[in-house]
Symmetry: D2
Subunit: 343 residues, 4 copies
């Protein structure tokens, strides 16, 4: 059994890790931390876990965490980098669901996250945990930077086009719609039901922290710097991200469907839908799947890709577990066979 620690267990990605790991056959959650909820039983905070765990929140402590084989950080940025160096030194594997190790350019990271980075060397050694791109490096990694939710949906949608240099890489558009759970479990007026339900709005149009991360991933795929306009929207639902991607084809022709199917044919968690399909976020609710469709409307030179995930699963906790499975040589789908909850 793999002993697991979770730092920051009171947010939505924390409880989602617990939900998924409860049914993982090879894992034992040993430690879960929260400063504010020390001593509280996890099931008292999250009653869906009643009967599945006998575990209390403890104050984060490197010594205790060192007994774990792997530690997940389900924390705001800045936390993982404060504990990672010592854990790495002690040989503990780390999967950071936060943003501390995602951006390779540390200055750029500082510019967007308004914080000095305290361990740039770990940024260098960290592997960006998108298995569909970096599976081999993940196998040997000690430190995983788990991708953000928007970056996951958006990269998986653009990858086949960019890797094959089929589109004008200078003017990519990602119009993304997220459920409210992306805003986290903190008390805030902006995420109240009365403020978000029965409404739709864009936010962060002038600049959102996932922009540099997406740009980095897409530039890697394109092997040159891409231009990207990224507009996130707050959608009146709890879970789900729908990325609608637009690009101009250099040489408009058929064959995009086959290209996408080929690219992802061995991927257990990317499902290229039949031509003409419109994936729904609910089809992946609770599941680790990304479903993708590709269109060339009116047979024109604009390609449209639709890519949906559950932001808390393939966009966070599920992908983190997928990374863990790969790191520890487990079956990649272990504990992730959940079928989307529909309706």
């Amino acid at each position: 059994m793999i002993n697991v620690g979770i730092v920051g267990g009171t947010g939505y990605t924390g409880v989602e890790l617990l939900r998924l790991l409860a049914n993982h056959p090879d894992v034992d959650v040993k430690v879960i931390t929260s400063r504010s909820e020390e001593g509280i039983h996890v099931a008292d905070m999250f009653p869906n876990l009643r009967g599945h765990y006998d575990l209390r929140f403890s104050v984060p402590d490197v010594d205790t965490l060192s007994d774990c084989d792997v530690v997940f950080f389900a924390t705001p940025h800045g936390v993982a980098m404060s504990m990672a160096p010592e854990l790495v030194e002690r040989g503990v594997r780390i999967i950071d669901l936060g943003a501390d190790f995602r951006i390779k350019d540390v200055e750029l990271w500082t510019q967007w996250y308004k914080l000095e980075h305290t361990c740039p060397d770990l940024v260098e050694m960290a592997v960006y945990g998108l298995p569909e791109v970096n599976r081999e490096q993940i196998k040997g990694a000690q430190l995983i930077a788990c991708p953000g939710c928007y970056p996951t949906a958006t990269q998986l949608g653009f990858l086949p086009l960019l890797e094959n240099k089929l589109i004008d890489h200078r003017r990519l558009i990602a119009d993304c719609k997220s459920g409210v759970s992306g805003a986290g479990r903190g008390a805030s007026v902006g995420a109240l039901m009365c403020e978000t339900s029965e409404s739709m709005k864009a936010y962060g149009v002038a600049g959102h922290r996932h922009l540099p991360e997406i740009r980095q991933g897409l530039s890697n795929a394109a092997q040159r710097p891409v231009g990207l306009t990224f507009v996130p929207h707050l959608t009146p639902m709890i879970r789900g991200i729908h990325s609608t991607l637009y690009a101009t084809l250099k040489d408009p022709k058929d064959g995009l469907q086959a290209l996408f199917e080929e690219r992802y044919k061995d991927e257990p968690f990317v499902d290229v839908m039949p031509a003409g399909s419109h994936p729904e976020t609910r089809s992946v609710k609770g599941a680790n799947t990304c479903r993708i469709s590709v269109f060339r409307p009116q047979n024109d030179d604009t390609v449209v890709v639709l890519s949906v995930i559950d932001n808390l699963v393939k966009g966070a906790a599920g992908q983190a577990i997928q990374n863990m499975n790969i790191m520890f040589g487990l079956k990649e789908t272990s504990g992730l066979s959940f079928v989307g909850l529909m309706p």
Copy 2:
């Protein structure tokens, strides 16, 4: 492996059976029927099932179904009774999620369902599939009448009080709130998002078909005919039933919490919450659990019980599988370890 057939696979209980059975280790779904969708792949209708099934809808046919060990009927009333006699004769076990075999008084059934019953003898042999009451009979049963959703939440909430004759059985009140999935997947104006979202209403106050079923179950528990006022409400959510139950205590005193805990201490799917808790339907979303709290507000003589289930799981497909597990001597929780999806 147990070979399973499902009659009526295009409704919400049908797809929910498929979702749950996809992760059941001892089961193979061999047949799923639908007259209207013959030849269609189940995953084309329900994309959440993509990658989990290689199965197409077929026209219901007794010969094909006879090869199954057990057949689930996820059909409107009237269908199961038309096929059950022949299947029973051939030794196939039947679990009817519909209403055909729930009411022992066939005349009463006809009065509420406006249909002549075509096999009253099967009604007699059918076991009412509420494991918390009838576990022993379920073990040997060939035909299970799976309880309705409201009846499940309501009976589990009232049972400890009635079995112990603690309340005035003549004036029970069940104020029940159901998500919209209870209305089924048929096209109807009344279940449109624009008609049900952002609104609350009661319906069927003058009389609802679950009334005689609940009354029968409660009367059995009380060992005398009970009086019941049952008011169902349509609630703007997809899944979930919240039963709020009221009764007058004959001899108001403490000890109700202990009574409920004792009654359900060995039940894998009934969770008596700590005193003072308010169960939320979301804590059982997708899960087979019923969570219950009991109150005596202001230390008065009125007892209030709160009982929540997922109408599609413990109120339908999950309970059906629980019955199957018991019938076939499997572990009762097999395939039902799903943790409620929260948030």
Copy 3:
């Protein structure tokens, strides 16, 4: 023109007052206060008001408010009582949408609101602003205690039965369902979309602050102390209250429909629905109407009343304006002709 001041304009009842008063022909909103938002334009906080107001939040100040003909307090309890005495002295009329003057028994108030009352004499002079009961006293009142949302829906539903002594007053049950806006606009985890959407739960079963208020109103109507079990529920919608009321008829017989119609035949904002109807909260969304139906299921001795309002309108801001109209001799429906937003 009547000059209006609003104290506490940043909550949901505050913005609802502004929405409704924007179309009131006889009113000019002169002052709106908020300590935290001083100097901010109301339309910057509530963009629905853009183009309708040229008004900024100011710090609450008795001198400024004294220039108003009437001041609405849309504040948490404790605020109105701190400013009311001086305003009353200066002849300003006051309509308190909070709880400070609702409960005539000041000790009882203190017990439920955990606060000493600083002006018990004003409690005595305050008129409880339920026009359907106290219209005459409201005409001459200087200080109105506007009823709570649950109390409004519940009292209007029970009144005809209690005034005519038709029901056992010792065991009344009010099972009430409220939209999330009832929880206010403060940042809190419990009112987040992710915590409240797609779920149903009861709360405050052991005791809720509206209980003594409802009991007081019902006892007045019954002319004796009533016994009441009140269970509020949080419903996944923004606006609306649905009260489902249960009582035992002393002498079960027909005629309840006529009784209700007669009681409310001259009331502009109470709509007794045709027999057999189930009122929906959405039918009063944004409107000042209370819709009521009365049932005697199975011709039994239990009467069921369904009563719906918009908690922010007839349950708060609309009723406050109705009171103002009466106090100032305006047409009672002035500014309140809004039709419910449906769908």
Copy 4:
């Protein structure tokens, strides 16, 4: 008083016309038609109208409608064109909320709507009822083709850019999100709460009927044929359209905010938000306003416009009334002073 007839009163645009006209000071609704609901009182179908109308549905009949000054068609395409010629001949003014007269190219119309047009001459005389473009022609018009919902939000967002030739007109992108009421009030599985709530999906990516209408309007503004990719999305809310528009600036520079403000400074129903704002659909819920923001993210050459309306108001019934006001020389805002319902 202007005598109004409404053909097709049982859909969402029909009831919305009734809601808005109930408070219009200069209008009397004399006739409302529905074949299926003949003789039914409008308030029995739409209880929000109780107390506001004394009107029953009648079978559509040209003679009766001829007594009206203006007839609104709130019908599926094909209906208005079957009755319009005779009404026009009799001098009745017509405002068609459907699609029959929107597309000037009748062949193109037939291609998208799969129907022969029966009165192409009326198409020619019809005025496209977007007051922000065609106010002068509307004044004298006898027949108005009221714009579709997506076309309204999208055109108002693109107009200032195209009229001033600031963007590459060959590759416009409109990523549009609509509430479910856009799907109408017909019984359909696809619009059930259980199918649409808690989910997001695109639809009609390969081609949607509003595409040629939007393209026509934008091409007029640009004075040349534009290229447009239009992707509509079904959003889990009842009302609201959010158009997110993308285009490439020919000569990237500041001044877009001023340009938009100038373009719409005299428009009573277009609100250009302060720079940096993100309009929310809820801010216009029930109101006839279109709110717009314009961005140039990262000071790049891509311009992003956010444009929100209530699809049933500025996208249908409200705009129709605005047209009527202009046609009859009434105050343009008459009956349309409704403030958006928020929360």
